[in-house]
Point group: C3
Chain length 178, copies 3
């Protein structure tokens, strides 16, 4: 058992939350999910940044390269509005893209609302860091994490990160042949 602590970045992309106009509920919702499912040591680093390509990209790069996050979960900025550039920031920060994450999150969200196809969520890898875009709304965040989190611990294994275990009653992490 590798007890190395997992450092997980949580990035809220929101002009209003970063300006203090309203309180970020999405970052705490992601943190609550992690508290609920992870059974191995972890800690989070939260960042609230304005929308737009540069601020989000730079937050991803710092959390990956300087802070050593094995996983970064972002919320916000994935819609079609002009300031929604989190997917472009993810492409800019990543060396390889993971299209299956966005496809599955859209498929699952589509069971809730037909406007799920407007989400441009994606995921990518930067070195030893997996970056995954989540939606902005706390209720949608849970739907997406329930769908994709089972594959995340194995992905983190494959890119050289710490071994993460989950409470199988809440979210069953899957490792092929494991």
């Amino acid at each position: 058992m590798n007890a190395q602590e997992a450092v997980i970045g949580i990035v809220t992309a929101s002009d209003r939350a970063s300006a203090g106009i309203y309180e970020d509920e999405s970052g705490p919702a992601i943190e609550a999910f992690l508290s609920d499912v992870l059974t191995t040591p972890w800690r989070s680093l939260r960042r609230i940044v304005p929308d737009g390509l540069e601020a989000v990209r730079d937050a991803f790069i710092e959390l990956a390269d300087r802070d050593g996050c094995c996983l970064i979960l972002s919320t916000g900025g994935t819609g079609p509005a002009p300031r929604d550039l989190t997917p472009e920031a993810t492409v800019a920060a990543s060396t390889r893209m993971m299209p299956g994450f966005g496809e599955l999150m859209r498929t699952k969200s589509l069971e809730q609302v037909p406007t799920a196809i407007l989400s441009r969520q994606t995921a990518g890898i930067r070195g030893r860091t997996l970056i995954v875009n989540l939606p902005g709304r706390p209720s949608s965040i849970r739907v997406c994490l329930d769908a994709v989190f089972p594959a995340i611990p194995y992905c983190v294994d494959l890119i050289g990160g710490p071994r993460m275990e989950t409470d199988a009653a809440r979210c069953r992490a899957f490792r092929p042949g494991g």
Copy 2:
């Protein structure tokens, strides 16, 4: 109620139709769908252009920038044949891509024919214009529009276009929280 007229571009990409060798049936099929479902003021601008990247891209750009279309629906040129370059034209004309449209249209078309995976349909945004690729065959056009049109009015809202309303018995436009 915003009664601003929606200007909708309809682009048929077809070497044969643009040369007058056969009559375009796909553009009229799109127009018939719009007549059927939209209850707010709109008018269409139809273009029939040869296949290939430049002609299709330039039609998209003119309809967006000069003619002020909030929505452009294209038909044709999304297959694997060498002259099928409508997706590349869409990428060239767009600043941000909307992968969920192509994914859903392929999923729905796959219920009809296994060759649906050969469609390279996509969608993108150029300024205040949403560009969506539809298939070439009138029967497939309807399947795709039934799938994605419910999300289009809200997308047009988000990019600053006119408010479009639909006849819910024919196509229920969805706006979250609306």
Copy 3:
């Protein structure tokens, strides 16, 4: 009936198999599928290359441009590990991408394992050659070929390759209107 022989490239991307450390089982699994389903003349050209962008890309280009393959099926190198760069090699060798193949293979594989979203499989066209990435495991290869092969003969028709026919009891090739 066009009895022109189909030349099909099979590329195994694997550092270990190319170094002779273990025996390639994936290339033979692909060949066995083809033997099982194709009823028109064909022959295969097998290549075992190390992982990484250049080796895989160059194998694709040689098989397409020099050897005249109408179809290249690759196995391996589509995961998130640092040396898994087959999708990038496919993009580098292709002029147009075919996103529907990867989407459908992930959807089908997801019925088997939740880690299917980690596969970055894609497909693309280079001239008269269709390149399709398959997974590394023989059992997953079959699931993916069963899903996408019905569309491949028609795709090869459209890009100017030889007409391939299949045994409909094993894999029903579909041609619209055919």
